[in-house]
């Protein structure tokens, strides 16, 4: 990290539809936060610092050197901020899984605004006892002092890349502190791949995993609570649906190290368009049966939630992006 920089750059960190974990992970760069502070003025970070949107709007375009944007885009405010920060930033980074591929909030794409609001506000939900009139969020509410505005809640969560042009992606839920620091350093030193690239390794978690591997032939998939796996052998070979085979490396295979199958938070490998397609193809290919009825049973028993298994982090960024809106409550589509 060059301390020769005389003027500080401008850094913006914004969170959209996210959980706050990315900010915590950023803080885990520990003492390097002092280097960060030495190199940058933090012009906006709703979590840990003061910074007004009005001030950002007043800046000239491209005034912000780096913007780390985490969270998916599912409200009009988030879309507005994404577009604003894109205009005002030289380098816009989709920081973490939410911004890159939708992550867990993206699983709301299995529903729509109506059913989400019904669940949250309607009688029978946790909120309902305090909401007997079934009030719903309104975009504009006149009050004596003026009009109060709430953003519009979208049916579908978008990734940052589906909203604006993104310069770099940093994968992970959240990105590991070491990788965050490496990315910031690369940006500061200008040692970057072509725009649009993912700042990460281009192989999968198996490369970092120490477990012993041989032939994969699965007759039964186990849920994690059903078995205690042995610590030496590949988890997938033991029938656990370890997503490490399709997940980008960079985390050091943390979860398999503690006897837990990878759930895929680091996203797809380099050049892969749809994470779930890769995972489904590989997992299906190693099912040890050639009988259709038996195959059906193996899947029904072992993969009761295919979207949650194959697209846990990547639904919003996948080829199909969301559940068919015209599907009825029982899941079957209507024409």
């Amino acid at each position: 990290m060059s301390h020769a920089a005389k003027t500080k750059g401008k850094l913006a960190i914004y969170w959209a539809a996210s959980c706050g974990g990315c900010e915590i992970s950023l803080l885990q760069i520990d003492a390097k936060i002092l280097d960060l502070a030495a190199a940058f003025d933090l012009v906006m970070c709703p979590c840990i610092a003061d910074g007004k949107v009005r001030d950002i709007e007043k800046m000239p375009d491209g005034a912000i050197d780096v913007c780390l944007f985490n969270g998916g885009v599912r409200t009009s405010e988030q879309e507005y901020m994404a577009k604003l920060l894109r205009r005002k930033s030289k380098v816009l980074v989709a920081f973490g899984s939410c911004a890159s591929e939708g992550c867990i909030p993206g699983l709301a794409n299995l529903n729509d605004r109506q059913s989400i609001f019904d669940t949250v506000y309607k009688e029978g939900s946790a909120t309902a006892p305090e909401n007997p009139a079934d009030c719903r969020p309104q975009q504009a509410t006149p009050v004596p002092e003026g009009t109060l505005h709430l953003p519009l809640f979208y049916d579908t969560l978008k990734t940052l890349g589906q909203t604006v042009a993104v310069d770099y992606y940093l994968p992970g839920c959240p990105p590991e502190a070491g990788n965050i620091w490496a990315a910031i350093a690369a940006i500061v030193e200008g040692k970057l791949p072509p725009r649009g690239a993912v700042l990460g390794l281009n192989t999968t978690v198996c490369d970092e995993c120490k477990r012993k591997r041989s032939e994969k032939k699965i007759r039964k998939f186990h849920r994690t609570w059903q078995v205690i796996p042995d610590e030496e052998t590949c988890l997938l070979e033991q029938g656990l649906l370890c997503c490490g085979i399709a997940t980008r490396a960079g985390c050091g295979a943390l979860c398999p190290q503690v006897n837990s199958p990878c759930i895929g938070c680091h996203g797809a490998n380099e050049g892969v368009e749809d994470y779930g397609a890769r995972l489904q193809s590989a997992v299906a290919s190693v099912i040890d049966s050639s009988d259709p009825a038996e195959i059906e049973q193996i899947i029904a028993d072992g993969i009761p939630d295919p979207v949650g298994t194959f697209y846990r982090f990547s639904l919003a960024g996948s080829l199909l992006r969301r559940k068919n809106k015209r599907a009825s409550a029982d899941g079957v589509g209507r024409g």
């Binding site: 009005r54 007043k58 577009k83 519009l152 993969i303 939630d305 024409g335």
Partner: protein
């Protein structure tokens, strides 16, 4: 609700050795069948990547057909079994994503079965015609209110003080 003028657009993935030749045979025999399946030639049904099916749906297909050699007769020995397994897994995922099961179909056809393939295509087209257009890209078309809502934020900010346009 079904539109009688609806013509499904279906992408068919055919393996070079069996099903593609079956389609050729149907042609040589001048068998007439529904023109709605547009065939993409692959060397083997084992090449069918679930991503192909998803891409077809995401690009507006109303249905997808995968056709390969009969189990036990794959030109590459056992690769159609892999296609079969992927098809079953994909079916589950697509059902969870609200796709009607009839829209994705796996069919086996040997190089001699031109008639049978034509009939299977006719049945598939009819089944999808009854289901109506899928138009998956419409799922992520922005609702008209979204653009308006984003623009109104700009206006709200302008109403407040100290804001330059």
């Amino acid at each position: 609700m079904s539109d009688p003028t609806f013509e499904p657009k279906i992408v068919g993935f055919c393996c070079n050795w069996c099903s593609y030749r079956a389609a050729d045979l149907a042609g040589t025999a001048r068998i007439k069948y529904a023109p709605n399946v547009r065939i993409i030639r692959l060397m083997c049904s084992g090449r069918v990547d679930p991503g192909f099916v998803l891409s077809a749906l995401a690009n507006g297909a109303d249905g997808v057909l995968i056709a390969g050699c009969h189990p036990g007769e794959c030109h590459y020995l056992s690769q159609n079994y892999k296609a079969m397994r992927r098809y079953h897994v994909l079916k589950h995922t697509l059902a969870a994503l609200g796709l009607e099961p009839d829209r994705l179909r796996l069919v086996w056809a040997s190089a001699a079965e031109g008639q049978q393939l034509a009939e299977a295509i006719d049945r598939l087209v009819e089944d999808i015609r009854k289901l109506g257009p899928l138009r998956w890209p419409a799922n992520w078309e922005a609702e008209p209110c979204c653009q308006e809502a984003v623009e109104s934020i700009a206006r709200e900010h302008q109403e407040a003080m100290e804001v330059l346009p």
